[in-house]
Amino acid sequence: MAKALYIDYQKCTGCRLCELVCAVSHDGISNPARSRIRVIKWEAEGLYIPMSCQQCQEAPCMNVCPVKAISRDEEMGRVYVDYDVCIGCRACVGVCPFGAMSFNTIDKKVLKCDLCDGDPQCVRFCEVKAVDFVEADEVCILKSRNAAERVSAAGKEASALEAQL
């Protein structure tokens, strides 16, 4: 079964190490602008959300590509760009509703998360595991488990407060 990136943004500290690691491991340049994963920050709220490619099942980038350079790789559970076929028209950059693709004018190639061929470096370097790499069918279980934990914690907190009163 394919694995997927599981982003739990509540854990994210906004250190942006994932951006640097991504750019270095793909392009050998320590430049966050070349990163496939981007952390969107609202400093006032202390809210940091890492945004990356969602590897959509019915990917708009795949449908819009005029030369069919983008295809789904079911084995890896990713949407994959074949750079030999890609002509650099940037239609995929224009269509992605998540803004997950960008264009690198130096190499004349689009940037897109390729899950590092099964070993995502952002996951490896994320200390708090705000970005995690889990089995795709486990994502919903993990999410419901997290929610359940939080509900029970809230319940305990509430009863503790009640006891104080």
Partner: protein
């Protein structure tokens, strides 16, 4: 010294020397501009760039296979154009009689006749096609038509000379040789000022700049200036590799001949060939993609999401994600902060 001997003697020398010198100058300009500007294909190197020289002429090139019939015509036409003047027995006799005393195997006369007729037929076809097709007529200038006429004229007069068809006519019969030689010399001179010009069809081009990304010599360039993406090209750098034609997903790119004597001296100048409006982001106002391309994308994936730039999309999606989550307390208050504080890089 009468006019005939001038045309035959000094003028021929002048034309040939000018042609040879011009070729050398063009070659050096071309090499200069390639060496100066070739930093894009560092990965593949300058040898790759030079290997793409004239790739457009390979019969199995992708750009050629897009229009097989027209390509075949073009091949035969250009083949005849070179083979007939070089292989004609009448011309070889002149070479042998000259001070060089060069001699080579002649083309059989019947072949030469047929090839000339084929060439003339195709030239007529190209001319009629250019005059009849509205699209072509609008986009071609008088020089394009002159180009075909001047190319055909030496062959036409040569054919008449070889067969003596018009010898009975007073003026033409007497002066056919002069017309033949003059038009031939004109054709040679014209070849010197012949450039390739990439064209982007306004109706079909979406402004995606794939042609620019794939141009091995940086002939084509696209610059985003304000709300416009401006395409320009450097005529000396074009090596007629046909990358732009083969890569264009809309079939909007074309390569054409262009005669322009002025261009010869404007070595490093760039000329604008097309400008496309860019679409502005709904949120931050940054220009992010050409309008025709976004219109085309809208046909496949219609959504409000794609009305803002990729960076704002991330922000928007992040906001949405946060608003849906159970930790999103006091929605009104944080909504405001989210809006005022939204980062947009």
């Amino acid at each position: 010294m009468d006019f005939y001997s001038i045309v035959e003697g000094p003028l021929l020398w002048i034309v040939s020397l000018v042609f040879l010198a011009g070729l050398l100058i063009r070659l050096s300009f071309f090499l200069c501009s390639i060496i100066i500007s070739n930093n894009r294909n560092e990965e593949k190197g300058q040898i790759y760039t030079i290997s793409t020289l004239g790739r457009f002429f390979l019969p199995l090139h992708k750009a050629s296979t897009k229009k097989p019939f027209y390509t075949a015509l073009r091949y035969i036409f250009h083949g005849c154009l070179f083979v007939v003047p070089i292989g004609l027995s009448g011309h070889i006799v002149l070479w042998t009689e000259s001070r060089f005393e060069w001699d080579w195997t002649a083309l059989p006369d019947t072949w030469a006749d047929w090839m000339t007729l084929i060439l003339l037929g195709f030239a007529a076809y190209f001319l009629v096609r250019r005059l009849i097709l509205t699209n072509l007529r609008r986009s071609s200038s008088i020089l394009d038509i002159l180009l075909i006429l001047i190319t055909a004229l030496p062959f036409l007069t040569g054919y008449f000379l070889a067969h003596g068809t018009l010898d009975s006519m007073a003026f033409l019969g007497d002066n056919m040789v002069i017309i033949h030689m003059l038009s031939g010399q004109l054709m040679i001179l014209m070849a010197l000022f012949l450039f390739y010009k990439p064209r982007l069809n306004i109706q079909a081009c979406t402004g995606c700049a794939s042609c620019v990304q794939n141009c091995p010599t940086e002939t084509l360039e696209a610059n985003d200036k304000g709300s416009l993406r401006i395409f320009s090209y450097a005529h000396f750098q074009c090596i007629c590799c046909g990358s732009c034609v083969s890569v264009c997903p809309e079939g909007a790119a074309e390569l054409r001949h262009e005669i322009n004597a002025k261009r010869f001296l404007q070595v490093f100048s760039k000329r604008e060939i097309r400008s496309v409006e860019l679409e502005a982001c709904e949120r931050c106002g940054a220009y992010f993609a050409p309008e025709p391309q976004m219109g085309q994308i809208g046909l496949i994936f219609a959504s409000d999401c794609i009305k803002c730039c990729p960076n704002c999309r991330k922000t928007k999606m992040g906001e949405r994600l946060h608003q849906m989550s159970p930790w999103h307390r006091s929605p009104k208050e944080s909504d405001e902060t989210l809006k005022t504080d939204s980062p947009c890089r």
